[in-house]
Amino acid sequence: MNLNLKLKVWRQRDPNTRGKFVNYQLKNISTDSSFLEMLDVLNEELITKGEEPVIYDHDCREGICGACGLYINGRPHGPDSLITVCQLHMRKFKNGDTIVIEPWRARAFPVIRDLMVDRNAFDKLIQEGGYVSVNTGSAPDANGIPVKKEKAELSMDAAACIGCGACVAACKNASAMLFVGAKISHLTLLPQGKVEARDRVLDMVTKMDELGFGSCTNTGACEAECPKGIKLTNIARLNREYYTALV
C-alpha cells in the first residue's frame, strides 16, 4: 500500500536566519522506499515547481557513515532502533501520518541550512585525542601485542561509533559524553592507546566543555538512540579515566 503523508519540515536559509516549519503534502509514497528516498521524491517535486529543495546530509545510504542525521517525530533517526535515517523505511509510518522533521539541535551543532548541521565539533574532539601517535607501519602480526579478549571486545564495541551525533541530539542536555566515552574506551582499553591515555581524556573533556556541549545526567537516552548500540558504561569509563587522570 502506498502512503499519503503530511510533512512538517524545518527550513532555514543559513545559520544566521531564523528558521521555520513548512508543510508539504506527499502522495503515493511506497512503503518499500527508505525515508531518504521519500525526501528525494519531495525534492524532485520542489525542483519541478521551481522551489528550493530541502537540504539534508547523506552519504553512504548503507547505515555505516553516520552522515544522515534527522530528528524525526521526536526521535533521532526516527521511529526505529539501532538504525540511521537511511535505514528507516516508510513501512514504519501509516497512511495520513504527519511527520515532523527537524535538524539536530545543539549549540555545538549549528544549523548550516535546513536539516543540515555543522558537526565539526566532533572532529575538533577527535583532534584533541581521538588518535594514537604511533608509527603503525604495515599490518602487525595478529598476536604480536597481547590483548585480553574481553578488552579487545569492549574496545571494538566502542569503535563501532560512526560519529553521527544522535547521542547529542537525543540527550536532553545536548551532551557529547557518549561519543567521547566511546573514543576513550576504543583507544584507552588497548595497549597502543595507553601512552596518551591521561592527556587524551583531560584534553577531550576540556574541549567538550569549550565547544558548548552539556553534561551527562545518566538518563540513558543516548544509549537508546545510538544506531550502533554504544553502551552507557562507556560514560562511566570516561568518568573513571578522567578522575584517575586528575590525580
Binding site: W10, T217, N218, A236, N239
Partner: protein, 221 residues
C-alpha cells in the same frame, strides 16, 4: 587537579559525592525521627534533640552537612544552566521517550524539595536557634520541646499532606539520583548496576514510607 572545580565532569563528581552524603544523612535523620513514634515518652526525642544541639561533634557535622547541601545545590544549578545553554533552540516535537522517567523531572523535584527544606528549617532549626521554640524543664535542664511542636504541626491536615507530598517528590528525585550518582562515580557495569537499581528502589521506598508514617500516626492518634 583544578579541573575538579572547573570541568563539567569535576562538578558532576562533587555533586554526586555530596548527593551520596545527603542520602546517608537522610537515613540517619529518619532513624532519629522514628523515635517520635517508637517511644511513648516524648522526652526521649527531646533529649536526643538536645544532645544534637549541644554536642561539639554534631556542631562540626552540622557545618559539613550545610556544606554538602550547598555543594549539591550550587553545582546542580551551574550544571543545569550549562545544560540549558547547550540547547538554545528546543525541538518542536521531542518526546524524550527513551529518557528514563524520573530523570526528566530532576530540577522540578529538586525545587519542591528545596522549598520543603526552607520551610522545614524555618519551622524547626531557625526557630530553635532564635530561642522561639517552646521549652520544657526536666531535672533542672532546659530542653526545647520539639515533640509538642511536631505534634502541633502534624495535627494540621494540609501540613500533613504537604509533608508527605514533599517526601514522595523527594523519592522521585532519589529514584534517579541514587543510581545516577554511582554512574557518575564511574560505577556502571553489568554486575553492579542491577544491584544498585534494586537498592535505589528499596532505599526510596524506605525513606518515603519511613518519613511519611510519622505524620500519619500522629494525625490519627
Amino acid at each position: 587537579m583544578s579541573g575538579i572545580f572547573t570541568s563539567s565532569l569535576g562538578k558532576k563528581l562533587l555533586m554526586s559525592l555530596a548527593g551520596i552524603f545527603l542520602i546517608v544523612f537522610l537515613l540517619v535523620h529518619m532513624g532519629l525521627n522514628l523515635l517520635l513514634i517508637i517511644y511513648e515518652d516524648p522526652m526521649v526525642y527531646n533529649k536526643v534533640a538536645h544532645f544534637m544541639s549541644s554536642s561539639i561533634l554534631i556542631k562540626i557535622f552540622e557545618i559539613i552537612l550545610f556544606g554538602g547541601f550547598l555543594l549539591h545545590i550550587i553545582y546542580a544549578l551551574i550544571l543545569q544552566i550549562q545544560n540549558w545553554i547547550a540547547r538554545p533552540s528546543r525541538y518542536n516535537k521531542a518526546n524524550y521517550s527513551n529518557t528514563s522517567f524520573f530523570s526528566k523531572f530532576m530540577i522540578h523535584t529538586a525545587i519542591i524539595t528545596l522549598t520543603f527544606l526552607v520551610i522545614h528549617m524555618m519551622d524547626f532549626y531557625i526557630k530553635a536557634k532564635l530561642g522561639h521554640a517552646s521549652e520544657i524543664i526536666v531535672d533542672g535542664v532546659v530542653y526545647h520541646d520539639f515533640v509538642s511542636e511536631v505534634v502541633d504541626k502534624f495535627k494540621i491536615l494540609p501540613f500533613v499532606i504537604f509533608y508527605i507530598a514533599a517526601f514522595v517528590f523527594l523519592g522521585f528525585h532519589l529514584m534517579h539520583g541514587f543510581q545516577s550518582a554511582f554512574k557518575t562515580l564511574g560505577m556502571d557495569n553489568r554486575k553492579y548496576t542491577p544491584v544498585i537499581q534494586v537498592l535505589a528502589i528499596f532505599y526510596c521506598t524506605l525513606v518515603v514510607a519511613g518519613y511519611s508514617i510519622i505524620p500519619v500516626i500522629i494525625y490519627f492518634s
